[in-house]
């Protein structure tokens, strides 16, 4: 279930229907920028930062809408950076997107 690309003026219509079943809390300071979570994420909603770095100088992962709470990231993370949550009821893109 991979949300398609969105257009410049905001999420594509079908993207708005993306269902978000879970989320993660990321301890970006513990991260050593190894990328393992990116490849492991089944819905492919984790993306490494490019410019932002943690205080030790490592890039770290960011979450995009579409998380299913499957905990693959937590299982493969060598530095225990993920806390995984599953929503009681799935949310839509905007609800998830609006969680800032």
């Amino acid at each position: 279930m991979t949300p398609p690309e969105s257009s410049p003026d905001g999420p594509a219509p079908e993207v708005a229907e993306t269902v978000v079943r879970g989320t993660v809390v990321i301890d970006i300071e513990a991260c050593k920028g190894c990328d393992l979570c990116i490849e492991a994420c089944k819905p492919d909603v984790l993306r490494m930062t490019t410019d932002e770095r943690n205080t030790r100088g490592y890039r770290y992962p960011q979450l995009l809408p579409g998380c299913t709470g499957c905990r693959a990231c937590a299982d493969v993370c060598p530095d225990f950076c993920f806390q995984v949550w599953r929503y009681d009821t799935p949310k839509t893109w905007t609800e998830a997107g609006g969680l800032a």
């Binding site: 991979t2 989320t23 990328d35 993306r47 937590a74 493969v76 060598p78 225990f80 806390q83 997107g97």
Partner: protein
């Protein structure tokens, strides 16, 4: 490659836990007191140790187990677990665990060692402990190198694998052949369970955790020595970028050291 590089997609804040959700996984597993460690980025050992500690928590063995650690990168964890730990010398863990298990026969006594520790320095220890059918679980984290010294040749290094003392790749002519430890132990009558897992992807992590649960189940049932070899990534020792290490493990290490359950005295579930 990550297909999510479109900047318009909204990044979701991940500083705080949501209040309308149930927690599925925590940062540091309950039986590891501090998640921080100094192992290299992309190291597979913390993943394997997490799988082992999760299995121990799952089986409710936290207050009836004793870990015996070998000397290697994973030694970083022997002072950070919330289970009782006896730190052994390089190669000696299976013998030390034998002494512990004979004094406390009912406990889940287990060793955590690297391939250098077990297969090089202490191969005699685990072979004889297996032959004696000692009631212990031996876990060997196999990354095919001595990680703590920066990645040197061990007996499980595969043909063609580059290490700090086989810079052009291991050759049989020059450096001899790798040994398959799980297979070696599977043919010794005193063992009750032998399997080899890997932690190079989430599926294998889950599969490895199941193997560890089975290993402890067999041990608690007194079926003899249980052995679980876990293939782990060592980007530093392999001269491989961290994100390529999982595939390198699959092609190089697992090519010689096949993943799977080799022997089990447990009745099929």
């Amino acid at each position: 490659m990550n297909r999510r590089n479109n900047d318009e997609l909204r990044v979701i804040a991940t500083e705080h836990a949501p209040d309308d959700a149930n927690q599925v996984a925590d940062f540091t597993p309950g039986l590891i007191d501090v998640g921080e460690h100094h192992l290299c980025p992309g190291c597979g050992e913390p993943i394997a140790i997490r799988a082992v500690m999760d299995a121990i928590a799952l089986l409710g063995l936290a207050d009836t187990c004793i870990a015996v650690f070998g000397i290697g990168c994973s030694t970083a964890f022997s002072n950070n677990l919330d289970v009782e730990v006896l730190q052994a010398l390089h190669g000696r863990a299976p013998s030390v665990a034998t002494g512990v298990a004979r004094v406390h026969p009912g406990l889940a006594v287990f060793t955590i060692q690297g391939d250098g520790d077990m297969a090089n320095e202490g191969l005699q220890e685990v072979l004889h402990a297996a032959a004696r059918g000692e009631n212990i679980v031996c876990i060997m984290l196999n990354n095919g190198v001595f990680g703590e010294t920066g990645g040197h040749l061990t007996v499980t290094t595969t043909i063609g694998q580059r290490t700090k003392n086989t810079l052009d790749g291991r050759t049989a002519a020059e450096h001899g052949h790798p040994m398959r430890i799980a297979e070696l132990l599977a043919q010794i009558d005193g063992v009750g369970y032998v399997a080899r897992g890997a932690v190079n992807d989430a599926g294998n992590v889950a599969r490895t955790k199941r193997m560890v649960v089975e290993a402890f189940t067999a041990q608690q049932a007194g079926l003899g020595l249980s052995f679980v070899e876990i293939l782990t990534m060592c980007p530093t020792g392999w001269f491989v970028p961290t994100d390529e290490a999982p595939d390198y493990l699959a092609s190089t290490l697992a090519g010689t050291h096949g993943v799977g359950v080799l022997r089990s005295a447990l009745e099929p579930a």
